[in-house]
């Protein structure tokens, strides 16, 4: 049976996709010959910190769509849903490293953490000042000292944005890392899905959902969530996620950035409907939304689902969030 995807050969998906992105913006982006790595074409000044992120493919536009001025310098893509390997990450570091140092932004998955840490070790061995942060914003997964902790999901993009702006503004490696950590400490996310995703190499959906079921707390790789239940309305579903997020951090009286993120196959129509409700709920709770981002930022191939992310802001983060970012997929409207 033919898979219902516009692809060519399964084993060429990652290569062709990164090529296709680079070809869309030939003056701004380049794809390295080694691996599926996208870099800024205009390299950063040597006295500014470079940012490298990455992870498995399948989350487009993350992460390569956020390469550009004010965000990432390089994005290293693994095969679909699989962390890139240390040699590829090191290659990305090599391509954009500066004297000011390199910050690696890693999502908290065992594979990602190990591969990035190995690359970091090799980079440091070569004398490249390299540090990393680990994003873990998904409140669906309990954080306990006996487990690997929460997963990194869509909130990671706020790290790219704020730490990227800090680096562009000339922050030191320590300062840029501190901003990244501040975002991590203040951002929480959770998602739900109604239709599964199909990894091209697998050829069939990674999980199954009955016609009237949804998975609450779904991971961005289609990992099972917190529980399964009957489909609810958009508003009720948003409430479930929001309740979990708000229980984890008290946002009351704070200004926040809100991201209503689509999983890849969710129409903007639905994301706007969700946003309509979330804005009302936050308002009623005394949480002021400083900026809203609605769209596909951290997807799960062709999964139909969405996640909500809330970032608690202070003056520094507000300034960094509003700073210019010129990348394929980050859109600041009206800043």
């Amino acid at each position: 049976m033919a898979m219902k995807k516009f692809i060519n050969k399964v084993e060429d998906v990652e290569e062709e996709m990164t090529e296709g992105l680079a070809k869309a913006y030939p003056d701004q982006l380049e794809k390295l010959d080694y691996g599926t790595i996208i870099c800024r074409k205009n390299k950063k000044a040597n006295d500014k910190v470079a940012l490298v992120s990455g992870g498995g493919s399948g989350h487009e536009p993350a992460h390569a769509g956020f390469v550009g001025e004010g965000m990432l310098d390089a994005a290293v893509a693994g095969t679909v849903y699989t962390s890139p390997t240390p040699d590829a990450i090191l290659e990305g570091i090599h391509a954009v490293k500066t004297d000011a140092g390199v910050l690696l932004v890693v999502k908290n998955y065992t594979g990602d953490v190990m591969n990035f840490e190995l690359a970091e070790e090799m980079a440091n061995d070569e004398g490249i000042k390299t540090v990393h942060v680990v994003s873990n914003d998904d409140v669906a997964v309990e954080n306990s000292s006996f487990t690997v902790g929460r997963r990194g999901v869509a909130g990671t993009l706020f790290i790219h944005k704020c730490a990227g702006a800090k680096a562009e503004a000339g922050g030191t490696l320590e300062e840029v890392q501190a901003v990244a950590q501040k975002v991590i400490d203040n951002v929480r996310s959770m998602g739900a899905a109604i239709k599964p995703c199909t990894v091209p190499a697998a050829g069939k959906p990674g999980f199954e959902l009955a016609e009237d079921e949804m998975e609450v707390g779904i991971g961005i790789h289609g990992e099972p969530g917190v529980h399964r239940e009957k489909i609810k309305t958009a508003n009720e579903t948003a409430d479930i996620l929001l309740d979990k997020i708000l229980a984890d951090i008290d946002y009351t009286g704070h200004e926040v950035a809100l991201m209503v993120n689509g999983s890849g196959a969710t129409p903007l129509m639905e994301l706007y409907i969700i946003n309509n409700h979330v804005q009302d709920v936050l308002k009623s709770k005394g949480i002021k939304v400083y900026r809203t981002f609605v769209g596909n930022y951290m997807t799960s191939i062709d999964m139909a689902g969405f996640s909500l992310s809330l970032l608690r802001l202070d003056d520094e983060l507000k300034t960094l969030l509003d700073a210019k970012a010129d990348t394929p997929a980050w859109k600041e409207f009206g800043c």
Binding site: G56, G78, T79, V80, Y81, T82, S83, P84, T85, P86, D87, A88, Y109, T110, G111, M114, N115, L118, V141, E142, F146, T147, V148, R151, V199, A201, A202, G206, F207, G219, H221, G222, E223, P224
Partner: protein, 207 residues
């Protein structure tokens, strides 16, 4: 126990076995992970396959190191660095050697376990490949002490690995992607423990 040529033969057999069990290993990764363990392992070992011609006549250390580096740079995910560093570190122990006896093999396995634990920080009982590796290692050491021949030692190891893999069904994972599902992971066998069991099984059947 085995010479350089035999090691290459066994590597070929492992490559074939992983390819054969690719779908099964991927299926095991579905309920508790992200449905890719078989795909990952097969991608890595297919790449090892390409390196085979260049390994003709090389010492066992070089062979293991090449296997490790290839897995490290082609598998990705959690299993890539784990298996990658396991083979690489074992390769260091066998540097320059063209013959390997059962004690060398156990040294390699000890080294591999150490490498995996250094990176992954998993202990026995966390429902990972460690739960196949450690019991296998212990069973083989016991067999050696009791004077069993190489074949019997490896068979004891393989049996213990499979028992360990089976036992992961009763464990709640606290490491790796499987830890996200918590109790929902009960009843499901760990894919990494399973892939290790296949590898040891192939070795025991071919020595």
């Amino acid at each position: 126990m085995t010479d350089q040529k035999k090691v290459l033969e066994i590597v070929e057999k492992i490559i074939a076995k992983i390819e054969e069990e690719k779908e099964y290993l991927t299926e095991l990764d579905q309920p508790i992970g992200d449905s890719d363990h078989g795909i990952n392992m097969a991608r890595g070992f297919q790449e090892v396959e390409k390196k085979m011609p260049s390994l003709d006549g090389k010492d066992i250390g070089s062979i293991l190191k090449t296997v490790g580096m290839t897995l490290m740079s082609k598998v990705g995910g959690a299993s890539g660095p784990l298996y990658g560093s396991a083979f690489m570190k074992a390769g260091l122990k066998m540097a320059g050697k063209t013959e390997m006896d059962i004690n060398d093999f156990l040294t390699c396995l000890d080294t591999a376990i150490e490498a995996i634990q250094k990176l992954g920080k998993a202990q026995v009982g966390e429902a990972t490949m460690i739960d196949a590796m450690v019991p296998a290692d212990e069973a083989m050491k016991k067999a050696v002490e009791s004077g069993a021949d190489d074949k019997a030692v490896l068979e004891a190891g393989s049996k213990a690995a499979w028992a360990g893999a089976e036992h992961t069904k009763d464990l709640v994972a606290t490491k790796g992607r499987a830890s996200y599902v918590g109790e929902r992971g009960l009843g499901h066998q760990d894919p990494g423990a399973t892939s290790f069991s296949y590898i040891l099984e192939v070795i025991s059947e071919n020595v």
